[in-house]
């Protein structure tokens, strides 16, 4: 994995060097973002659906949620997956464009196979935890709040554990508070539920 990331960083550095720095910020541009997102594809997939376990799907994420996470990686308020180094090479306009590109991609296909009880349990816990208050009725995300539906289970579980332990700081404490009382079993059930949603 480290090899893959360092290649990605090299590729990004080369790519960014060929761009002009925009002084005036344009509206997020998904077309420009598609070109700028080439380096992201190594881990996150060409269309934002990652083939690698544990890497988040970015397809259909709200534009602002990707942008805000890139900002937090750049400022090292969030760490992981080598993203701090990659985000450090991006301008805010690059981040907005890349986010717009992935926001425009079709959502990852839901995966529901073979574990109806676990999914039902996950749905029950998600309701008890008021996940939809911020993440939307179908956990589709909104504004700066990420989409959870169709998300990689490995990624979902890792992030909730990190939020629970404090290894990942969330923006306003809401997720730290929500994750504090969750067991591993509950987290895994919610991950299965989220992944099953279209």
């Amino acid at each position: 994995m480290s090899v893959r990331i360092s290649k990605a960083i090299q590729g990004m550095a080369f790519f960014i060097a060929s761009l002009h720095a925009d002084q005036v910020m344009a509206a997020p541009d998904a077309v420009a973002g598609k070109a700028k997102a080439q380096v992201c594809a190594a881990c996150h997939g060409e269309t934002g659906v990652s083939a690698l376990p544990g890497f988040p799907h970015l397809a259909a994420q709200p534009q602002l949620s990707i942008f805000y996470q890139l900002l937090q990686f750049r400022d090292q308020r969030r760490k992981g997956g080598g993203m701090e180094a990659i985000a450090a090479t991006l301008s805010e306009q690059d981040m907005r464009d890349i986010a717009a590109h992935y926001a425009s991609m079709p959502a990852p296909a839901p995966v529901a196979g073979g574990q109806p009880e676990k999914i039902a349990r996950g749905q029950q816990i998600a309701q008890q935890q008021y996940c939809s208050s911020c993440h939307g009725a179908q956990l589709q995300g909104q504004k700066h709040v990420p989409r959870l539906s169709g998300q990689s289970s490995e990624y979902f579980v890792a992030q909730l554990r990190n939020l629970r332990s404090g290894a990942r700081a969330d923006m306003d404490g809401t997720m730290a508070s929500a994750a504090r009382s969750l067991t591993d079993e509950e987290i895994e059930a919610m991950a299965a539920y989220a992944r099953s949603l279209p």
Binding site: Q23, V24, M25, L64, Y68, L71, D75, R77, E92, Q124, I125, Q128, Q129, Y130, S133, C134, Q142, K143, H144, V145, M171, D172, G173, T174, A176, S177, A178, S181
Partner: protein
């Protein structure tokens, strides 16, 4: 009756209580049901019907608009006044304080930065003097030191102006404040005699029976480090100032959410004596009993606000006008930054209002003074604080544009 205890302080209290009762409770405790979780603090008190409105808080301001993209020309001011961009490039710029030498210090909620704006050789420069702090929203200045209120502690940067490019490690002044995130960021103001730092400890939810440590305005004695209550029953104040003549504390307060579009109002308050209680969570805006927590109570038990500012406007920074540049009628008026609503189907606020008082301190007028941050349903910025300059002009910080505007008057 729901106890919406989202916060650590009350969890500790509950834990202590549980431990005290453990001998009794352990024997009879039924199998624990699946943990009944707590909604996010902003959603507490929301009904099922209200959930269908899909009202959620706005994303926080995380970046700064490039100077060339800031639509300052959209700002509207009364005839004779002018609005201009004064400084930019400060993500989430919020509370402001200025040193006697002229350095403007600016706190933030989200990036954890504190900025200093200095003028040198006619050019204005923004320096980031602190990063990675935890919600350093409150700033005050005394004897060459910058005081910063983080979420749960007060810190101090000594001799800061001589070290803006290489600030010293901060001295911890007080670190025993609650750690609740909800309404935990502070507005801070130095008392006129320089002996106290005033700040708020907001309620840890939208609406809840808060611990006695919360929903208060407190002051920290800088000589003894003793913390004491100034006022109670204050949901969350993010703006306060001392009257230039009477030296009484005045402050803004943010009303609860999820009643309806037009209730309750955010309020303006005046502290005329010790021990005042402004009613939260039982009574809002001086005359509205809480639907849930007000049962069996009366608003007559509590002290009243001096003004209902408006529903959901998010009245934040407020200051008395002490300058001489504005026309005479502005003398000792109050300016209030209205950050703008999220918990309302039609947005309101997103402006700076002016409140005029008579000689006794009664409100005689409230009107919009600066507007234009919102067009239709779309806002490009949100005013967070106001600050009076020595030359009599006024600064307005904007935590979405990451900028500061200057409002001036010429005859």
């Amino acid at each position: 009756m729901k106890f919406n205890f989202a916060h650590q302080a009350s969890q500790k209290a509950v834990l202590t209580l549980a431990m005290a009762l453990s001998g009794l409770a352990m024997a009879q405790a039924p199998a624990a049901p699946a943990a009944s979780a707590i909604p996010p603090t902003w959603a507490q008190g929301r009904t099922a019907e209200q959930a269908a409105l899909n009202l959620v808080p706005h994303p926080p301001g995380m970046t700064a608009l490039p100077a060339g993209d800031i639509p300052t020309d959209k700002l509207k001011v009364p005839a004779g006044f002018k609005a201009e961009l004064w400084a930019s490039g400060m993500p989430n710029a919020r509370s402001m304080v200025q040193s006697p030498a002229g350095t403007l210090f600016v706190g933030t909620r989200f990036p954890g930065n504190v900025y200093a704006v200095v003028e040198k050789d006619g050019k204005r420069e923004v320096k980031t003097i602190a990063k990675g702090l935890h919600r350093p929203n409150g700033v005050a200045f005394k004897d060459g030191s910058l005081y910063v209120a983080e979420l749960s502690r007060i810190i101090r940067y000594d001799n800061i102006e001589a070290n803006l490019d290489n600030p010293p490690a901060p001295v911890v002044v007080f670190d025993a404040l609650p750690k609740d995130e909800a309404h935990g960021w502070k507005f801070m103001k130095l008392s006129p005699d320089g002996n106290y730092l005033y700040f708020q400890i907001g309620t840890p939810a939208n609406i809840t029976v808060q611990p006695v440590t919360h929903a208060v305005i407190v002051r920290l004695n800088l000589k003894t480090n003793i913390l004491e209550n100034v006022a109670t029953g204050v949901r969350n104040s993010v703006g306060m100032d001392f009257h230039p003549v009477t030296k009484e504390l005045w402050f803004t307060n943010n009303g609860r959410d999820w009643v309806n579009d037009d209730l309750p109002n955010d309020t303006l308050h005046r502290v005329t004596r010790k021990g005042m209680n402004f009613g939260y969570p039982f009574c809002h805006q001086g005359d509205l009993l809480d639907l849930e927590f007000g049962k069996g109570r009366s608003c007559e038990e509590f002290d009243k606000p001096v003004l209902k500012i408006g529903p959901h406007v998010a009245a934040l920074g407020m200051r008395f006008y002490t300058g001489k540049q504005f026309p005479a009628e502005y003398k000792h008026n109050i300016f209030i930054a209205e950050h703008g609503s999220w918990n309302r189907t039609k947005k309101t606020g997103f402006d700076v209002v002016r409140v005029a008082l008579d000689a006794k301190g009664n409100v005689t007028k409230k009107e919009v003074f600066v507007s234009g941050w919102i067009q239709g349903d779309d806002f490009w910025g949100r005013p967070a604080d106001v600050h009076m300059m020595k030359d009599g002009s006024m600064l307005v910080s904007d935590d979405v544009a990451g900028a500061i505007f200057r409002i001036s008057h010429s005859k």
